[in-house]
């Protein structure tokens, strides 16, 4: 029956309790019942077992930055396909951004999303509400009503709240609800019509550049406003060495700030834009080697708290156009983990740090009781094979959209089981799932 499961001989890896042991996990009624070696199942019960020898069992992964496109743009993605993609990528909980059509700027839309999730999704989905009505940057959205309806953070992601007064007010107001304010840091005017990082490569490729300063100015501004208000800031998709330095300094000064980095900003530089593959067009843009190095280092030392995919599905029509006219964004849920794991294997960031940044750290940022395998916790568990090597094939994606620059990459580390409240929601079948 659902919610009852035994995982045998797994390497139980849970940074939230400093745990790294080989053993069994007993799940009852959707909760972690026991951890140990050779756990006996309660008498008279016939509980399904997973033989996880050679695999790691971690708290279920959490992605706090996804775009599910529903309501409004279901030709790109919908709640069903987006959450199936998440489950296949090993994620048991995701937060979805507010830039749907209509925007999630009211309790009505928040509730609509939650009702859809209840009927369509096998994983946990936490809506993020808009900061401003319609993401227009003019008036505050009804943040309190959305909070009552269940939002876990506020963000105008995709756009920057350019009005500093309004951003200050949003930070002030968020304190009442203890919601993190998630900033998408791109100065709209400095960005202009830029389509890639500004630098030597933008000069070479003849494309309009987006200077790093366009991100850093907003990161710096929002740090100052957070200090002014005493609110809680979360910086989405950090992409530059300069932003890292600002965040590190802010943390040192005791400001309540957290940050995330995406798989693509950890693994790609603006050199790849030279193919003019529009799947490399993303906001903020892919930067330079020294930036990749800086975000990697910041992930390793905890300056960057969390990993987040910024899963941004776009249809073929949005991408098979001129580089200038293509939409920004790439899908990420189904490629995130092997890319994070690659950073662990190749750049020496510890596995503990990677798993922390996918489990209890993001849980803290959005304030959900997840990201741990402590006794009594929800039995959200991800089991992966650290040795399995495979080639990324976008045609295998569950996501409706295939806009990835990672198609054909050889990677290592494969999700074997995704378990939500003791129920298997994804299982890797040897030889392929499709």
């Amino acid at each position: 029956m659902n919610g009852e499961l035994v995982i045998r001989k797994a390497r139980i890896f849970d940074p939230s309790q400093n745990l790294d042991v080989v053993g069994d996990i007993l799940i009852q009624k959707g909760k972690i019942e026991a951890l140990g070696t050779q756990i006996n199942v309660p008498l008279g019960k016939n509980i399904p077992e997973i033989d996880a020898q050679g695999w790691l069992a971690t708290p279920g992964w959490i992605d706090i930055h996804t775009h599910l496109r529903e309501p409004g743009q279901t030709h790109k993605e919908n709640i069903r396909t987006g959450t199936e993609a998440a489950a296949a990528g090993g994620f048991t909980s995701i937060a979805c951004m507010a830039n749907t059509k209509p925007v999630n700027d009211s309790s009505f839309i928040t509730t609509y999303i939650q009702q859809k999730v209840a009927s369509e999704s096998s994983i946990n989905v936490y809506p993020i509400g808009a900061i401003t009505k319609g993401l227009d940057g003019q008036e505050l959205a009804e943040i309190g009503s959305m909070w009552e309806a269940g939002i876990v953070a506020i963000s105008d992601d995709g756009k920057t709240v350019m009005n500093s007064y309004l951003m200050r007010k949003a930070l002030d107001y968020s304190k009442r609800f203890n919601l993190a304010v998630v900033c998408h840091a791109e100065d709209t005017n400095l960005k202009g019509r830029g389509v890639m990082n500004e630098g030597f490569n933008s000069a070479r490729f003849g494309l309009r550049g987006i200077p790093k300063a366009s991100e850093e100015i907003i990161v710096a501004r929002d740090i100052l406003l957070t200090e002014l208000t005493g609110a809680r800031l979360h910086v989405a998709h950090v992409s530059t060495a300069g932003s890292v330095a600002l965040i590190r300094e802010a943390k040192r000064r005791g400001i309540q700030i957290t940050a995330e980095v995406t798989p693509h900003h950890l693994t790609l530089t603006d050199e790849v834009v030279g193919t003019y593959d529009t799947n490399t067009k993303v906001a903020p843009p892919l930067r330079e080697p020294q930036d990749v190095e800086a975000v990697t280092e910041a992930l390793a030392d905890g300056t960057i708290d969390a990993l987040a995919s910024d899963h941004a599905p776009h249809s073929v029509e949005d991408k098979e156009v001129e580089y200038d006219h293509a939409e920004f964004g790439m899908v990420g849920l189904e490629t995130a983990f092997p890319l994070y794991y690659r950073v662990a294997l190749q750049k020496g960031v510890s596995l503990k740090r990677i798993v922390s940044a996918m489990t209890h750290k993001p849980a803290e940022i959005i304030g959900i009781p997840k990201g741990t395998l402590k006794i009594g916790a929800d039995a959200d568990i991800t089991i992966f094979d650290p040795d399995m090597k495979y080639r990324i094939n976008k045609n295998d994606f569950r996501s409706k959209s295939k806009n990835t620059p990672f198609d054909g990459w050889d990677v290592q580390g494969k999700v074997r089981y995704t378990i939500v409240a003791g129920k298997i929601v994804y299982q890797e079948i040897p030889g392929g799932n499709r």
Partner: protein
């Protein structure tokens, strides 16, 4: 020639550039002496797909193709595929269905010829993609320099104007450097590409200093309608600081070559006296343009006749 398409001078070797120039001078001699040129394109179709208005480049390619005996079809589409609700891939497939032997593409977005090159199995000539490259313009400029200076290697070449938005500048920088010229650029700092010095060029903001000792000065057409507010305050001010006039040329070499890819904004980037003066080779560039394009089309269609002509 080993390149299947001509997408940019960044991807050409010195030997390939030399080959184009050699054939261009041969064609020029043939035409001058009223000798026949090879009918490389006889029975072949060249599609000229122009997403941007262009008279000069388009007619130059058309004439070049016709002189080689080819059929030409001009397709003009203003605006991007995206604005028309069509993808670039749709555009490519439409072209393919017409079964041309070669495609000449002019497009306002950088990289568009690369997209088409991945889909089509015919040679593509980039006739200008956004701010990126315009390789045949650079090749005709090289031919003109070679013609008047007898060499390219070791010459000091200055490119003046809106370098940031210039495909002509980029293609010339790559090609000139490969041929051993020393290249400098000069323009308002707002109109220079980021990190342009990493292309191996000297950067100047002051025109009077920049022109000194130069063998060649190329000035670029400035398109105010394309600039953002903040890039240049006014035509008058641009002209005052970056217009090539007789007084600016006082410090230049007496035999400096004055070039411009056209069409000229008289009195803005170049004064009428200089444009029409004895050092100007602007009209020679136009004439050489047809010839260089003949050479490029000839080489790209890889005809058997090739061997006999080289």
């Amino acid at each position: 020639m080993s390149i299947p398409s001509l997408l940019g001078t960044e991807f050409l070797s010195k030997a390939q550039i030399e080959q184009v120039l050699k054939l261009s001078f041969l064609f020029k001699k043939c035409l001058k002496q009223n000798q026949a040129v090879p009918q490389t394109l006889a029975g072949k179709t060249v599609i000229l797909l122009f997403f941007e208005p262009s008279t000069r480049t388009r007619s130059s390619f058309e004439l070049a193709a016709k002189r080689l005996g080819g059929n030409t079809l001009v397709l003009t589409k203003e605006g991007s595929s995206a604005e028309k609700g069509e993808t670039l891939v749709d555009t490519a497939k439409t072209v393919q269905a017409m079964q041309p032997d070669l495609l000449v593409l002019r497009h306002p977005s950088a990289g568009s010829p690369f997209h088409l090159d991945q889909i089509l199995d015919i040679p593509i000539v980039n006739a200008g993609d956004g701010f990126h490259e315009h390789p045949t313009q650079a090749l005709l400029d090289l031919m003109t320099i070679q013609e008047f200076k007898g060499k390219i290697e070791g010459l000091k070449v200055l490119i003046v104007g809106d370098i940031a938005h210039s495909r002509v500048a980029r293609s010339n920088i790559y090609a000139l450097k490969k041929m051993g010229a020393e290249v400098s650029v000069c323009g308002p700092p707002t109109l220079l590409p980021p990190k342009v010095e990493q292309m191996g060029v000297e950067v100047h903001y002051e025109l009077e200093k920049a022109v000194k000792d130069k063998d060649v000065i190329m000035t670029l057409r400035i398109q105010f309608e394309r600039l953002n507010p903040g890039q240049s305050p006014s035509r008058g001010e641009y002209s005052k600081f970056y217009g090539i006039s007789e007084s600016v040329l006082k410090t230049a070499k007496a035999d400096v070559l004055i070039m411009h890819p056209g069409p000229v904004n008289r009195g803005v980037e170049i004064s009428p006296e200089v444009a029409d003066g004895s050092r100007s080779v602007i009209l020679n560039q136009v004439g050489n343009g047809v010839i260089v394009r003949m050479a490029v089309l000839h080489l790209l269609t890889g005809n058997e006749l090739l061997k006999g002509w080289l």
